[in-house]
Amino acid sequence: MAKIVGGYATSHVPAIGVAIDQGKTEEPYWQPVFSGYEWSRKWIEELKPDVAFVVYNDHATAFSLELIPTFALGCAAEYQPADEGWGARPVPTVHGHPELAWHIAQSVILDEFDITIVNDMEVDHGLTVPLSLAFGQPHAWPCAVIPLAVNVVQYPPPTGNRCLQFGKAIRKAIESFPHDMRVVVFGTGGMSHQLQAQRAGLINPEFDQKFLDLLVHDPAAAAAIPHVDYLRDAGSEGIELVMWLVMRGALGDNVTELHRHYHVPASNTAVGHLVLEPK
């Protein structure tokens, strides 16, 4: 049977991808960002997951205002890294796992989570930056990837509670897949940041640290944070943090925190990183 063996949360700042692609990770500005990922690079290398289930958001790349799915599950065999306006990132093609992805799609729909099934999409930095942080710069990604794109661009995104409950349904789905397989669930985006208008540059370390604590120890409380609190206290783009709750729901009720990293800034954003293990 398939099993969830870890949870990996990280910010997915595009400038982090640029720093990796351009070999700048040792520069004084970037070194404190990347040093916090060294432990988890080794952790995931030893864990050898078969599949990474990556919860992320598309940033007006594969989806525009023509079509705004709240939850879109990638069931394709492969996904190309997208050109987001400055050329595609030089990273490997992302290979999917259609059999497991379709199994999850069927399971969660019958569990009353009415997701959108996607057979053709490009993936942007929201998905590829976390893969680079976890796996470095290999010629091919070391595991299959199932993308789950969550709308956090058009207000309102799904509630934190919906995300947490959906994560629980994903856990049920993965654990009912009748083949041995080790799955790591990624929750990406955040932490506090605002990219737009006169208040751009907002960072709130107290909010972020409290969110990390709640996510680990009291996910129901984290899931109860209303949208206006994210918008006001974590910045308009800090609302991406609801995606971490999908990951948390998938890990089960109790988890062990294996690793935490927090740094300000990467470009406009507070960088947060957590590694969790289901108990």
Partner: protein, 130 residues
């Protein structure tokens, strides 16, 4: 749902239904700039390229004059308008600096020093009293 509970946040446009409806063509214009051939066509003749998108005269002017906050006020979304910035060769951090009215180095310095604090930036009242 009060729906308006976020209107008290200063210096922020929440991309809600009203903004999205108003900004549809403006954002779809920006979306077209994802493709290199469209970026070239736009830069070669901006006015002619904009004729393809039925946006308002105000929106069109905001694009031509690169008034980034005005684009947001008129329904633009930052993930879309940043594609126009990328077409101009402006990084996300420099775009953020421009929108705050700070110069590039001062903004970068603010971020390195920990960013814009939440204290004094929580409500419109904070800004009025500041």
């Amino acid at each position: 749902m009060s729906g308006n509970d976020y209107h008290d946040i200063p210096g922020t446009f929440v991309f809600d239904a009203e903004q999205s409806r108003q900004g549809y063509h403006l954002n779809m214009f920006c979306m077209s700039l994802r493709q290199a051939k469209n970026r070239e066509a736009f830069l070669a003749d901006e006015a002619a390229y904009l004729d393809r998108y039925p946006m308002s005269a105000e929106q069109r002017q905001a694009v031509l004059s690169r008034d980034w906050n005005e684009m947001l006020r008129l329904g633009g979304n930052i993930y879309y308008t940043s594609k126009l910035a990328a077409t101009d060769g402006i990084t996300f951090q420099d775009l953020a600096a421009i929108m705050t009215g700070m110069d590039r180095d001062a903004y970068r310095q603010m971020m390195v020093a920990g960013g814009r604090p939440i204290e004094g930036n929580r409500t419109k009242g904070d800004w009025d009293n500041g």
